[in-house]
Amino acid sequence: MAEEAVKKIVDETEATPSSRRSSSRSSRRSTARKPKKDQTLQGLILLVLVIAFGIYLATISATIGIFWLTGIAFGFILRRTNFCFTASMRDPIMTGSTSLTRAVLIALAITSIGFVAVQYGASIKGLPVPGMGFVVPVSFATVAGAFLFGIGMVLAGGCASGTLMRIGEGFGMQMLSIVFFVIGSFWAARDMGWWTLNFISNGPRLHLPEIFGWTGAITVQLVFIAVLYILADRWENRNQEL
Protein backbone atom coordinates (compact mmCIF):
# COMPACT_ATOMS: atom_id res chain seq x y z
CA MET A 1 0.00 0.00 0.00
CA ALA A 2 2.70 2.45 1.02
CA GLU A 3 4.83 1.37 -1.91
CA GLU A 4 1.99 2.04 -4.25
CA ALA A 5 1.50 5.50 -2.82
CA VAL A 6 5.18 6.33 -3.18
CA LYS A 7 5.19 5.00 -6.73
CA LYS A 8 2.21 7.17 -7.53
CA ILE A 9 3.90 10.29 -6.19
CA VAL A 10 7.07 9.47 -8.09
CA ASP A 11 5.12 8.89 -11.29
CA GLU A 12 3.30 12.14 -10.99
CA THR A 13 6.15 14.37 -9.96
CA GLU A 14 9.10 12.96 -11.82
CA ALA A 15 10.51 14.09 -15.08
CA THR A 16 8.95 13.89 -18.51
CA PRO A 17 8.96 10.65 -20.48
CA SER A 18 11.86 11.83 -22.64
CA SER A 19 14.24 11.58 -19.71
CA ARG A 20 12.51 8.79 -17.87
CA ARG A 21 11.70 6.48 -20.73
CA SER A 22 14.55 5.04 -22.73
CA SER A 23 15.06 6.63 -26.13
CA SER A 24 14.18 3.43 -27.98
CA ARG A 25 10.74 3.58 -26.44
CA SER A 26 10.10 7.30 -26.59
CA SER A 27 6.68 7.85 -28.02
CA ARG A 28 5.69 9.81 -31.04
CA ARG A 29 3.67 12.14 -28.93
CA SER A 30 6.34 12.85 -26.34
CA THR A 31 8.79 13.96 -29.05
CA ALA A 32 6.33 16.28 -30.77
CA ARG A 33 5.12 17.83 -27.56
CA LYS A 34 3.98 21.38 -27.30
CA PRO A 35 5.73 23.21 -24.47
CA LYS A 36 3.72 23.53 -21.30
CA LYS A 37 2.43 26.99 -20.55
CA ASP A 38 3.84 28.60 -17.43
CA GLN A 39 0.95 30.07 -15.48
CA THR A 40 2.79 31.08 -12.32
CA LEU A 41 2.16 34.79 -12.92
CA GLN A 42 -1.55 34.28 -13.60
CA GLY A 43 -1.73 32.12 -10.48
CA LEU A 44 -0.17 34.81 -8.31
CA ILE A 45 -2.44 37.51 -9.75
CA LEU A 46 -5.44 35.27 -9.10
CA LEU A 47 -4.28 34.63 -5.52
CA VAL A 48 -4.04 38.38 -4.88
CA LEU A 49 -7.50 38.92 -6.39
CA VAL A 50 -8.94 36.08 -4.29
CA ILE A 51 -7.54 37.63 -1.10
CA ALA A 52 -8.64 41.15 -2.11
CA PHE A 53 -12.17 39.99 -2.92
CA GLY A 54 -12.22 38.04 0.36
CA ILE A 55 -11.35 41.19 2.30
CA TYR A 56 -14.04 43.11 0.38
CA LEU A 57 -16.63 40.41 1.21
CA ALA A 58 -15.59 40.43 4.86
CA THR A 59 -16.48 44.13 5.05
CA ILE A 60 -20.03 43.27 3.93
CA SER A 61 -20.46 40.15 6.05
CA ALA A 62 -17.94 37.98 7.89
CA THR A 63 -20.00 34.88 7.05
CA ILE A 64 -19.83 35.52 3.30
CA GLY A 65 -16.07 36.08 3.62
CA ILE A 66 -15.69 32.73 5.37
CA PHE A 67 -17.85 31.01 2.71
CA TRP A 68 -15.58 32.50 0.05
CA LEU A 69 -12.42 31.20 1.70
CA THR A 70 -13.76 27.74 2.60
CA GLY A 71 -15.25 27.39 -0.89
CA ILE A 72 -11.94 28.20 -2.56
CA ALA A 73 -10.03 25.92 -0.17
CA PHE A 74 -12.52 23.11 -0.74
CA GLY A 75 -12.26 23.42 -4.51
CA PHE A 76 -8.48 23.50 -4.38
CA ILE A 77 -8.35 20.37 -2.23
CA LEU A 78 -10.88 18.53 -4.42
CA ARG A 79 -8.88 19.40 -7.50
CA ARG A 80 -5.43 18.52 -6.19
CA THR A 81 -6.42 15.28 -4.48
CA ASN A 82 -8.85 14.01 -7.15
CA PHE A 83 -11.25 13.58 -4.28
CA CYS A 84 -14.68 12.74 -5.63
CA PHE A 85 -17.82 11.77 -3.76
CA THR A 86 -19.23 10.16 -6.88
CA ALA A 87 -16.18 7.95 -7.32
CA SER A 88 -16.26 7.02 -3.64
CA MET A 89 -19.68 5.43 -4.17
CA ARG A 90 -19.18 4.22 -7.73
CA ASP A 91 -15.66 2.81 -7.84
CA PRO A 92 -16.18 0.01 -5.29
CA ILE A 93 -18.69 -1.48 -7.72
CA MET A 94 -17.12 -0.45 -11.03
CA THR A 95 -13.43 -1.04 -10.35
CA GLY A 96 -13.26 -2.58 -6.89
CA SER A 97 -11.22 0.35 -5.65
CA THR A 98 -12.23 1.75 -2.29
CA SER A 99 -9.44 4.28 -1.73
CA LEU A 100 -11.85 7.23 -2.16
CA THR A 101 -14.55 5.48 -0.16
CA ARG A 102 -12.11 5.23 2.73
CA ALA A 103 -11.08 8.86 2.22
CA VAL A 104 -14.73 9.92 2.54
CA LEU A 105 -15.11 7.77 5.67
CA ILE A 106 -12.06 9.42 7.24
CA ALA A 107 -13.47 12.84 6.32
CA LEU A 108 -16.80 11.89 7.92
CA ALA A 109 -15.05 10.71 11.09
CA ILE A 110 -13.12 13.98 11.40
CA THR A 111 -16.27 16.02 10.69
CA SER A 112 -18.21 14.03 13.30
CA ILE A 113 -15.65 14.87 15.96
CA GLY A 114 -15.75 18.52 14.94
CA PHE A 115 -19.56 18.64 15.01
CA VAL A 116 -19.71 17.00 18.42
CA ALA A 117 -17.14 19.47 19.74
CA VAL A 118 -19.13 22.46 18.46
CA GLN A 119 -22.54 21.14 19.55
CA TYR A 120 -21.35 19.84 22.93
CA GLY A 121 -19.55 23.12 23.55
CA ALA A 122 -22.78 25.03 22.95
CA SER A 123 -24.90 22.65 25.01
CA ILE A 124 -22.75 22.77 28.19
CA LYS A 125 -22.88 26.57 28.04
CA GLY A 126 -26.66 26.34 27.87
CA LEU A 127 -26.71 27.87 24.40
CA PRO A 128 -28.99 26.54 21.65
CA VAL A 129 -27.25 23.66 19.86
CA PRO A 130 -26.13 24.90 16.44
CA GLY A 131 -27.09 22.99 13.32
CA MET A 132 -30.32 21.54 14.71
CA GLY A 133 -32.19 23.10 11.81
CA PHE A 134 -30.40 20.59 9.59
CA VAL A 135 -31.60 17.59 11.56
CA VAL A 136 -34.32 16.60 9.14
CA PRO A 137 -36.76 13.68 9.23
CA VAL A 138 -35.49 10.35 7.91
CA SER A 139 -37.92 8.38 5.81
CA PHE A 140 -38.21 6.24 2.73
CA ALA A 141 -37.91 9.50 0.80
CA THR A 142 -34.28 9.72 1.97
CA VAL A 143 -33.51 6.30 0.51
CA ALA A 144 -35.40 6.95 -2.74
CA GLY A 145 -33.80 10.37 -3.15
CA ALA A 146 -30.32 9.02 -2.47
CA PHE A 147 -30.83 6.27 -5.04
CA LEU A 148 -31.97 8.75 -7.71
CA PHE A 149 -29.13 11.11 -6.86
CA GLY A 150 -26.69 8.21 -7.20
CA ILE A 151 -27.89 7.40 -10.71
CA GLY A 152 -27.77 11.07 -11.67
CA MET A 153 -24.31 11.75 -10.38
CA VAL A 154 -22.75 8.77 -12.13
CA LEU A 155 -24.36 9.79 -15.44
CA ALA A 156 -23.38 13.43 -14.96
CA GLY A 157 -19.83 12.48 -13.96
CA GLY A 158 -19.95 14.20 -10.61
CA CYS A 159 -22.00 15.36 -7.67
CA ALA A 160 -22.46 19.06 -6.97
CA SER A 161 -18.95 19.74 -5.68
CA GLY A 162 -17.32 17.53 -8.30
CA THR A 163 -19.25 19.17 -11.11
CA LEU A 164 -18.35 22.67 -9.93
CA MET A 165 -14.71 21.71 -9.53
CA ARG A 166 -14.52 20.28 -13.06
CA ILE A 167 -16.15 23.36 -14.53
CA GLY A 168 -13.28 25.29 -12.97
CA GLU A 169 -10.98 22.78 -14.60
CA GLY A 170 -12.56 23.63 -17.95
CA PHE A 171 -14.35 20.37 -18.63
CA GLY A 172 -17.07 21.20 -21.16
CA MET A 173 -19.52 18.37 -20.61
CA GLN A 174 -19.96 19.31 -17.00
CA MET A 175 -21.05 22.82 -17.87
CA LEU A 176 -24.04 21.06 -19.40
CA SER A 177 -24.41 19.01 -16.20
CA ILE A 178 -24.60 22.13 -14.04
CA VAL A 179 -27.33 23.65 -16.23
CA PHE A 180 -29.57 20.62 -15.66
CA PHE A 181 -28.43 20.37 -12.05
CA VAL A 182 -29.78 23.89 -11.53
CA ILE A 183 -33.01 23.13 -13.45
CA GLY A 184 -33.51 19.98 -11.36
CA SER A 185 -32.85 21.86 -8.13
CA PHE A 186 -35.34 24.58 -9.02
CA TRP A 187 -37.94 21.99 -9.87
CA ALA A 188 -37.32 20.19 -6.58
CA ALA A 189 -37.53 23.45 -4.66
CA ARG A 190 -40.86 24.23 -6.36
CA ASP A 191 -42.39 20.89 -5.30
CA MET A 192 -40.61 20.60 -1.95
CA GLY A 193 -43.58 21.83 0.04
CA TRP A 194 -45.79 19.05 -1.27
CA TRP A 195 -43.16 16.35 -0.70
CA THR A 196 -42.46 17.62 2.80
CA LEU A 197 -46.13 17.63 3.71
CA ASN A 198 -46.98 14.20 2.28
CA PHE A 199 -43.83 12.13 2.67
CA ILE A 200 -40.85 13.71 4.40
CA SER A 201 -42.42 15.10 7.57
CA ASN A 202 -43.85 11.67 8.47
CA GLY A 203 -40.36 10.35 9.25
CA PRO A 204 -38.69 10.54 12.65
CA ARG A 205 -36.06 13.17 13.42
CA LEU A 206 -32.88 11.49 14.62
CA HIS A 207 -30.22 13.36 16.54
CA LEU A 208 -27.89 10.74 17.98
CA PRO A 209 -26.79 12.75 21.08
CA GLU A 210 -30.43 12.87 22.20
CA ILE A 211 -30.62 9.08 22.01
CA PHE A 212 -27.18 7.95 23.21
CA GLY A 213 -25.85 11.05 24.98
CA TRP A 214 -22.86 12.98 23.70
CA THR A 215 -20.19 10.35 24.44
CA GLY A 216 -22.41 7.54 23.29
CA ALA A 217 -23.30 9.31 20.04
CA ILE A 218 -19.73 9.96 18.97
CA THR A 219 -18.72 6.42 19.99
CA VAL A 220 -21.55 4.85 18.00
CA GLN A 221 -20.77 7.05 15.01
CA LEU A 222 -17.01 6.38 15.03
CA VAL A 223 -17.44 2.63 15.56
CA PHE A 224 -19.91 2.53 12.67
CA ILE A 225 -17.47 4.43 10.43
CA ALA A 226 -14.62 2.14 11.52
CA VAL A 227 -16.68 -0.94 10.61
CA LEU A 228 -17.44 0.54 7.17
CA TYR A 229 -13.73 1.35 6.74
CA ILE A 230 -12.73 -2.23 7.53
CA LEU A 231 -15.38 -3.57 5.14
CA ALA A 232 -14.17 -1.19 2.41
CA ASP A 233 -10.58 -2.31 2.94
CA ARG A 234 -11.57 -5.99 2.77
CA TRP A 235 -13.62 -5.36 -0.37
CA GLU A 236 -10.61 -3.87 -2.15
CA ASN A 237 -8.27 -6.70 -1.14
CA ARG A 238 -10.84 -9.36 -1.95
CA ASN A 239 -11.01 -8.06 -5.49
CA GLN A 240 -7.25 -8.09 -5.72
CA GLU A 241 -7.07 -11.80 -5.00
CA LEU A 242 -9.47 -12.68 -7.78
Binding site: R79, A87, G158
Partner: protein, 75 residues
Amino acid sequence: MAEFELDCLGEACPIPLVKTEKKMQELDVGDTLIVMIDHSCALKNVPEWARKNNYDVEVEEVGESEWEIFIDKTA
Protein backbone atom coordinates in the same frame (compact mmCIF):
# COMPACT_ATOMS: atom_id res chain seq x y z
CA MET B 1 6.19 -3.33 -28.95
CA ALA B 2 3.48 -1.43 -30.70
CA GLU B 3 2.07 1.75 -29.33
CA PHE B 4 -1.62 2.56 -29.29
CA GLU B 5 -3.45 5.74 -28.51
CA LEU B 6 -6.82 6.02 -26.89
CA ASP B 7 -8.43 9.43 -27.17
CA CYS B 8 -10.68 9.99 -24.18
CA LEU B 9 -10.62 13.78 -24.31
CA GLY B 10 -13.98 15.15 -23.30
CA GLU B 11 -15.12 11.86 -21.83
CA ALA B 12 -16.34 12.01 -18.26
CA CYS B 13 -15.39 9.51 -15.65
CA PRO B 14 -15.84 6.49 -15.72
CA ILE B 15 -15.93 6.22 -19.54
CA PRO B 16 -12.11 6.50 -19.94
CA LEU B 17 -11.63 3.59 -17.57
CA VAL B 18 -14.17 1.40 -19.34
CA LYS B 19 -12.58 2.18 -22.72
CA THR B 20 -9.11 1.52 -21.33
CA GLU B 21 -10.17 -1.84 -19.93
CA LYS B 22 -11.59 -2.89 -23.30
CA LYS B 23 -8.62 -1.61 -25.27
CA MET B 24 -6.07 -3.32 -23.04
CA GLN B 25 -7.67 -6.68 -23.82
CA GLU B 26 -6.94 -6.18 -27.52
CA LEU B 27 -3.28 -5.35 -26.94
CA ASP B 28 -0.47 -7.93 -27.06
CA VAL B 29 1.98 -8.32 -24.21
CA GLY B 30 4.71 -5.71 -24.57
CA ASP B 31 2.48 -3.15 -26.22
CA THR B 32 1.94 0.28 -24.78
CA LEU B 33 -1.32 2.14 -24.56
CA ILE B 34 -1.41 5.91 -24.29
CA VAL B 35 -4.67 7.11 -22.83
CA MET B 36 -5.37 10.80 -23.35
CA ILE B 37 -7.70 12.25 -20.74
CA ASP B 38 -8.87 15.63 -19.53
CA HIS B 39 -11.16 14.54 -16.71
CA SER B 40 -9.20 14.56 -13.48
CA CYS B 41 -11.18 11.66 -12.09
CA ALA B 42 -9.75 9.31 -14.71
CA LEU B 43 -6.32 10.46 -13.61
CA LYS B 44 -6.94 8.55 -10.45
CA ASN B 45 -8.91 5.46 -11.39
CA VAL B 46 -7.20 4.53 -14.66
CA PRO B 47 -3.67 4.33 -13.16
CA GLU B 48 -5.11 2.63 -10.08
CA TRP B 49 -6.84 0.00 -12.18
CA ALA B 50 -3.71 -0.55 -14.29
CA ARG B 51 -1.43 -0.92 -11.27
CA LYS B 52 -3.85 -3.40 -9.78
CA ASN B 53 -3.38 -5.44 -12.94
CA ASN B 54 0.40 -5.14 -12.49
CA TYR B 55 0.90 -3.04 -15.60
CA ASP B 56 3.59 -0.37 -15.64
CA VAL B 57 1.99 3.05 -15.51
CA GLU B 58 3.32 6.53 -16.08
CA VAL B 59 1.28 9.69 -15.90
CA GLU B 60 2.23 12.94 -17.51
CA GLU B 61 0.46 16.28 -17.51
CA VAL B 62 0.74 17.44 -21.10
CA GLY B 63 -1.32 20.59 -20.84
CA GLU B 64 -3.65 22.46 -18.59
CA SER B 65 -5.90 19.78 -17.17
CA GLU B 66 -4.84 17.35 -19.86
CA TRP B 67 -2.95 14.16 -19.17
CA GLU B 68 -1.47 11.17 -20.91
CA ILE B 69 -1.36 7.86 -19.14
CA PHE B 70 1.23 5.39 -20.47
CA ILE B 71 0.29 1.81 -19.72
CA ASP B 72 2.67 -1.00 -20.62
CA LYS B 73 0.96 -4.34 -20.99
CA THR B 74 3.53 -6.33 -19.09
CA ALA B 75 1.60 -9.55 -18.67
